[in-house]
């Protein structure tokens, strides 16, 4: 099957320090793919490059047949790539529901003039957006927090708020940077089933994750990054046995 996302020979150097060197990988539509690797391996850098918030030094990123390199980040989002952040990025002072509404931005009327005059068309659109936002809030079990400003919401739930905001954009590809970090086991379970549900609805998921048990359980395929280079890929069980992976990564953690 054709890849939805293809990373071709991507290299990224910061002031001579090579963070990624010649990374190539493919994410097929409808799969959950995990990117693992020790700290500092370049995982987040690669995600930033895919989401176009960083430009690669060389190489190309192709999404659904078109190159993303050089596009502004909001254009990449509009092409259907949504993301969550390693360090949760919320909007202080805005409620959980408003976060989801911001996620629906692409469907919202953009005109400032109709906004200022609060035209009937705008009010209709706003009602529709709110219905859709509430549906997502309910789907992610955030109803109790919907009207609460983000800064008051517990950390574990903020990851879910980010997910709701990302899903609101109706993405084709979901990039999740350590979505399980800081979550308790029950929250991780809920997250995993949420991601499976998204995949079953046609969203392709590409995630960076440290929790190996979660990766083993959730991912269809795993890519292993070490010191800026991909050293293994394949189904989780195979990758787990790969001696290079064990040496680079699993050896220094619990290996579960």
């Amino acid at each position: 099957m054709d890849a939805l996302l293809e990373v071709r020979e991507v290299t990224k150097a910061f002031d001579g320090l090579v963070a990624l060197s010649g990374v190539s990988l493919r994410v097929r539509p409808g799969q959950i793919k995990a990117l693992i690797g020790p700290n500092g391996a370049g995982k987040t850098t690669l995600f930033h490059i895919i989401a176009a918030s960083l430009a690669p030094t060389s190489g190309d990123v192709v999404f659904a047949g078109r190159s993303l390199v050089g596009l502004p980040a909001h254009r990449v989002a509009r092409l259907g790539i949504a993301r969550t952040f390693q360090n949760v990025q919320v909007f202080p002072g805005m409620t959980v529901l408003e976060h989801v509404l911001v996620g629906l931005h692409q469907q919202a009327p953009a005109s400032l003039l109709s906004a200022a005059l609060r035209t009937p068309a705008l009010r209709r659109a706003e009602r529709r957006l709110r219905e859709e936002a509430w549906a997502l809030v309910r789907r992610l079990d955030l109803e109790a927090w919907a009207e609460v400003p983000a800064e008051v919401v517990p950390f574990g739930l903020l990851r879910r708020v980010e997910l709701a905001r990302a899903l609101a954009t109706r993405p084709r590809l979901l990039l999740l940077d350590e979505p399980g970090s800081g979550l308790n086991p029950a929250e991780k379970q809920a997250l995993a089933s949420e991601l499976r549900r998204a995949r079953d609805e046609g969203v392709t998921v590409f995630l960076v994750e440290h929790d190996m048990s979660m990766v083993m359980e959730l991912a269809d395929e795993v890519e292993v990054l070490d010191q800026g280079q991909l050293i293994a890929e394949g189904p989780p069980a195979e990758v787990q046995r790969d001696p290079r992976v064990v040496a680079a990564y699993l050896g220094e953690e619990d290996g579960a």
Binding site: A51, S53, P72, A73, H74, A77, R78, A82, R83, F85, Q89, V90, F91, P92, G93, M94, T95, E98, L101, V102, G103, L104, H105, Q106, A108, P109, A110, S111, L112, A115, A116, L117, R118, L122, A125, E126, L129, E147, P149, E162, R165, A166, A168, T169
Partner: protein, 345 residues
């Protein structure tokens, strides 16, 4: 103050209420000035209304989009000078006198000037809103000073003498609606405050629209806003344009009120004063605009009229000092301004 106007029409009852109060009060010979010991004059109330219009835009820009502007008085000045030039010196530009003397001409000029100034700000915004923090503040500061100098130096065309240089332009006509003059000052006061409240309503509507949410999102995290498809640069430029357009309208209304415009009214200090008003009222609320404008103007008036009497053996300008101290206290004890932002639904 958590009240929010959801429709511009809500401004109408407010205006009616003001009319009613003035109508009741005036026949008994009691005027605003008498009630407040000469403090709250019609002149001050008009200026508070004009600044309210500017501040609604400035609050959207600074409080919601998080973009500092130290040059907002420039747009105010551009509106004022556009109205003054195109009513008083229109003949220099070859505009026929019968058009210039028509009652609708100043209104057309006001609208056209607002659009032109907004367009100018939009273009400038594309360049300078890429800057962040102090750099942006410096860029708007520079813009403000540039506009001031261009106005003072006759737009670089001294032979036409369009702006009148240092001396500005006198004899700007009063506004009319059909054959009815919007004067004396009591009538104009109502016009200005009706416009000001309408702008507050417009501002509230923007804040609670999808675009307003996107703005607040930008303030919170640009990366996250971009990640859901918000074109951060374009939205900032559009808000900058909107705020400039509002300032221009206020400037036009000012020109027709003062009947004279001089470049000094629109220099750096007035820009700074606007930022102070915005901070005092509360940047992150639209309702902070009328409050900030009124409180700061009253305070200035109070200091000017009463301070010298209280402190003997002081000559010269003491009120900026007291003003500064009050500001420091405000920033220390109530940094979000007098009106606190209410969490939106």
């Amino acid at each position: 103050m958590t009240a929010r106007l959801r429709s511009p029409w809500t401004a109408v009852p407010c205006a009616v209420a003001v009319v009613a109060v003035l109508d009741l009060v005036e026949p008994f010979g009691v005027r605003l000035g008498h009630l407040t010991g000469g403090l709250l004059t019609a002149d001050l109330a008009v200026r508070a209304g004009l600044f309210t219009i500017v501040l609604v835009g400035l609050n959207l820009l600074m409080g919601y989009a998080g973009q500092a502007s130290l040059g907002q008085a420039a747009f105010y000045g551009m509106g004022a000078f556009a109205s003054a030039i195109l009513t008083v010196r229109a003949h220099v530009l070859g505009i026929p006198p019968e058009v210039v003397s028509a009652w609708w001409w100043p209104w057309v000029v006001m609208a056209a000037a607002a659009c032109a100034v907004a367009g100018f700000a939009w273009v400038v915004g594309w360049v300078i809103l890429r800057l962040r923090g102090h750099y942006l503040a410096m860029a708007t500061l520079g813009l403000g000073i540039m506009v001031y100098i261009v106005l003072r130096e006759n737009l670089g065309m001294p032979h036409l003498n369009l702006t009148g240089g240092f001396d500005g332009i006198v004899g700007v006509p009063r506004l009319r609606l059909g054959s009815a003059a919007l004067w004396p000052v009591g009538v104009y006061l109502l016009v200005v405050w009706a416009a000001a409240l309408a702008c507050v309503a417009l501002g509230e509507n923007v804040v609670h629209s999808p675009a307003g949410r996107a703005l607040r999102a930008i303030h919170g995290s640009e990366a996250a806003a971009e990640s859901v498809g918000v074109d951060v640069g374009a939205l900032k430029a559009r808000i900058f344009a909107l705020s400039a357009g509002l300032a221009s309208v206020a400037g036009s209304l000012y020109a027709h009120f003062q009947a004279a415009v001089v470049p000094d009214t629109f220099g750096f200090v007035p820009s700074l004063e606007l930022v102070v008003m915005s901070a005092v009222g509360g940047m992150r609320t639209v309702w902070g605009a009328p409050l900030g404008a009124t409180v700061v103007l009253l305070l200035e008036q109070l200091l000017r009229t009463h301070l010298l009497g209280l402190v003997p053996a002081v000559s010269g300008e003491l009120e900026p000092v007291v003003f500064g101290v009050l500001l420091i206290l405000l920033m220390r004890f109530r940094p979000s301004g007098l009106v606190q932002a209410a969490p939106a639904p």
